[in-house]
Symmetry: C2
């Protein structure tokens, strides 16, 4: 190997600012406008670069979209591991519920779900990058809860995962009517923890 950068192109190097601008513009555009309005031209305009700059990097919209989606998997909510089991669970779920109800990732997820039947490989990619890691993380947390005796060992894991993630997704969608999504993550975990049957029946 002759140089530190094995293959160093001769001409003017590509602007890494343009790289970043295109990547973020692609994600935001898809979240804001949806699959249909996602086009090379729209991405270029939003990124503040020329169309030629985009086409030099990606052959077409599918390639660009796929590249943008790979940036979604980065930040899986981390596992706290210290503190009470229930606190950890609540904290993790809050991480899924995430910032504003209309966060970038949330909006992208909804778009993908809507377009899923028409573009199964896009859906598969997002499933693999976003949904699966979070499912696995919940599974880990639940298993640790069982081992530490905080959780019923005979509980149905898959059903519990649905009971934990489902409401988060649902409440995220209920940005519709603000007062309807008033239920906090804490109260949800608390209800699920104690169950629905009266204490006298236990």
């Amino acid at each position: 190997m002759a140089t530190q950068t094995p293959v160093r192109a001769k001409g003017r190097p590509r602007s890494c600012l343009a790289d970043a601008a295109i990547a973020t513009a692609a994600l935001e555009l898809f979240a804001d406008e949806g699959f249909e309005r996602f086009s090379m031209e729209a991405v270029a305009t939003r990124a503040g670069v020329s169309k030629a700059t985009v086409y030099r990097r990606f052959c077409g919209r599918d390639e660009l979209l796929a590249h943008a989606m790979t940036q979604l998997g980065a930040d899986v909510p981390k596992m706290p591991e210290l503190g009470d089991f229930w606190e950890n669970l609540t904290q993790f779920l809050d991480g899924i519920r995430e910032s504003a109800p209309g966060s970038l990732k949330s909006r992208i997820m909804i778009r993908v779900l809507g377009e899923g039947e028409r573009h199964p490989q896009l859906q598969a990619m997002v499933t693999e990058l976003v949904i699966r890691p979070r499912q696995a993380r919940v599974r880990l947390i639940l298993n640790s809860g069982i081992q530490s005796g905080r959780l019923r060992p005979d509980v149905d894991i898959e059903a519990t995962i649905a009971l934990l993630i489902g409401p988060m997704v649902w409440l995220k969608m209920l940005r519709l009517t603000p007062e309807a999504g008033a239920a906090t993550t804490e109260t949800i975990v608390e209800v699920l923890r104690a169950g629905l049957v009266p204490a006298s029946h236990s």
Copy 2:
């Protein structure tokens, strides 16, 4: 009043077959193709009628779409009222989870949610017609459960609603990976009923 039909047009009456064909075509098209591809022309083609026939009934795509959405609220899952409280609840939730995971209403709901920020009045309409009636129905069921003593009277109603509806929506979305949505409605209700804490801690 002169006649039984107060205003009887003179010429050829409008075909009620065309009415129905347009209405169903509009719903299916929106579910299949999404908001962007929803157009007067596409609806006419799918309905098997000419564009003129559609334009004679609706001024534009917004009017047509709004009319189509009003047909969604019709069949709220009925309240069984006979049988065990938990059986009723399970049955009702199965009704929400609904037939095939890709039912017409499900797909429309996802589309609306995705396009919600861009078209808030469409979202508001569907919220009013589909979501709210089901929320209210769950509320009724839960209150009846409290009155009959099957349900903890101090339970947080809003959190419980999220815990019931959320997983149904979530599992509906998990048509992605068939094995992942294996959790049945029964097991979900069972877990929620008994709670997550070990019996020894209750």
